[in-house]
């Protein structure tokens, strides 16, 4: 289903449809996350990916007044790049551990300490929260800064003084 949605996005001409499909795509991947036992990630993907991004995309769509995208011609460079990347990954799958393999290296080295000791060391039953806020709290600090940066960036682009965009546009096209 994810694949069908992704292909539909590629072909759909209506931008509103594209945004809706992308929201559906996010919700579907949230469902996949639940089946893979990642409830926190599913929750976030549903709230942030399907919710916040969609609202922003709709707002952007409303501001740009564009409803339809031109049909996309087949791009050879795009195809080559996509197939090179896909080929590289498929080449790699041969040696990959089977899905759910309890003896995969990823589940053996670092992760067991989080599962076994985090309750004694941090005291929270939700291991994801312990890792997120304590063991790898610095990543989360960086992540908050990323959000803050995005807020500042959008403020710089769309904040105060946008009302005279039309006049500035004239000025900037004259100066070029």
């Amino acid at each position: 289903m994810l694949g069908v949605t992704a292909l539909a996005i590629l072909r759909a001409p209506g931008l509103f449809t594209v945004v809706m499909l992308s929201s559906i795509y996010s919700l579907l991947s949230a469902v996949v996350f639940v089946t893979l036992d990642a409830v926190d990630v599913a929750f976030t993907e549903a709230v942030v990916g399907a919710g916040a991004s969609t609202i922003l995309m709709l707002a952007a769509l409303a501001l740009t007044n564009q409803r339809r995208a031109k049909p996309t011609p087949i791009s050879p460079t795009g195809l080559i790049a996509a197939f090179l990347m896909g080929g590289g990954l498929i080449y790699a799958t041969v040696d990959m551990p089977v899905l759910g393999d309890p003896s995969a290296p990823a589940t053996l080295h670092v992760a067991p300490r989080y599962l076994n000791d985090s309750y004694d060391e941090v005291g929270l039953p939700n291991v994801v929260t312990s890792v997120l806020a304590s063991y790898r709290g610095y990543d989360t600090f960086g992540e908050v800064t990323v959000i803050f940066t995005a807020g500042i960036g959008v403020l710089a682009l769309l904040g105060r003084g946008r009302r005279d965009r039309k006049s500035r546009r004239k000025a900037s096209s004259e100066s070029t």
Partner: protein, 492 residues
Amino acid sequence: MEQHFPVLVVLVPMLAAPIAVLFARGGLAWFLALASSLASLYMSAVMLLTVLDVGVISYHIGDWAPPWGIEYRIDRLNALVALLLSGVSVAVLPFARRSVKKEIALERQYLLYTCWSLCLSGLIGMTVTGDAFNVFVFLEISALSTYALVSMANRRQAHLAAFRYLVAGTVGATFILVGIGLLYMQTGTLNMADLAERLPAVAGTRPVIAGLGFIIVGIAVKMAMFPVHGWLPGAYSRAPVAVSAFLAGTATKVSAYLLVRFTYTVFGADFTFGTLSIGTPIILFGVAGAVVGSVAAMHASDLKRLLAYSSVAQISYMGIGIGIATVEGLGGGMLHVFNHALMKVALFMGVGCVLYSRGSASLESFSGLGKQMPIAMGAFTLAALSLIGVPGTAGFVSKWYLVVAALDSGWWPVAMVIMVTSLMAVVYMGKILERIWLGQPSTDVAHEGRVPVAMLSMLYVLAFANIYFGLETSLTVGVVLDAARELIGQGG
């Protein structure tokens, strides 16, 4: 206090940003950015001395021992890069004050300096971290703030350039993310030192090889290596000129550092360049990039664009040095990272002075400036000579090491290409110098005022740094060659 320097060097500029936003004053934001860059410069200098003295510093954030927690790990190489980054920021900020005042509306200036601080802390964070996923997080901090910085120029092409940069940068970052995921899948760890220890056991497996490929491609995009350099000319030529100067000295340099860090430290030189001989394609793309960049620079009509294309060529030299993978080659490549930052920052500052006083950076507007602005143009000429690689300048030293390394390891056509593209640099920089010193002043270019002393003096600091590091090479060459020996030795 000193034991916290590894994290403070990142934290201080990062905290300057929200504090600047609280007060929303351009002047205060500028001061905070400058003060925090100075603090970072001091701290990275202290750390470099400590590292040279006692060896690697490891800082465990949250007191969680690696690989469970995130580790900051300072060695010779990244201490030098951190010094370079904060140094460039300290040098460009006094210059930026007046230049930004002229280019950007007053109420948005504090946002620019906020993004500047965030960008600096993101770049230093990428440099000092010893955790592969932490690299991705800080890379995104610096990337998002860079897109915002580029888009702040008051011209519409800047938005387009920033958008293209955003798309390319995000694809690059996602490639790096996939690569880190593949490594994690095979080793179960994210800590770089731990990865380096555990990778040899699984080195032959396909996910590891694919992971290396993804990481190299992703970094190449961020570094603007040929053929994925498309975003750079637009971004550098459309950004506010002070931002161009800052980014030219920092952003691609950190990517070059990351390439070294992943290929040499994490995977090990033996594996990357011995078993897989990744060096050959890197060198070949580097050669192609050097030629393409130089040819494009010869045809550019705007000086910012010319400098941006010349950056593509110069970045390719760094790639060549990294790909040759001998002590001289790697040392030359890293030396060029340092020296190219010095010359490009000075050149963009020179252009900034001309933009400030003439309002244009087209080639025509440089005609006869040697008579009208002899002081600024003198410094510009010094930096231009360094870019060409005239003996006695910093540019010569690193090119020398690169050519020698290429000849030593049998890559003599590569040495030829470095020579030929240097000649092309003579052509495109010579064209401008000729206009500056021999051309007639054009009458229709506006005269918009004298260049402020602050801008001129920082331009001179950088120009003389080019000469200083061209003559007195013991500091940079010594550190870099030692670092290269350490990195190549690590593989076994």
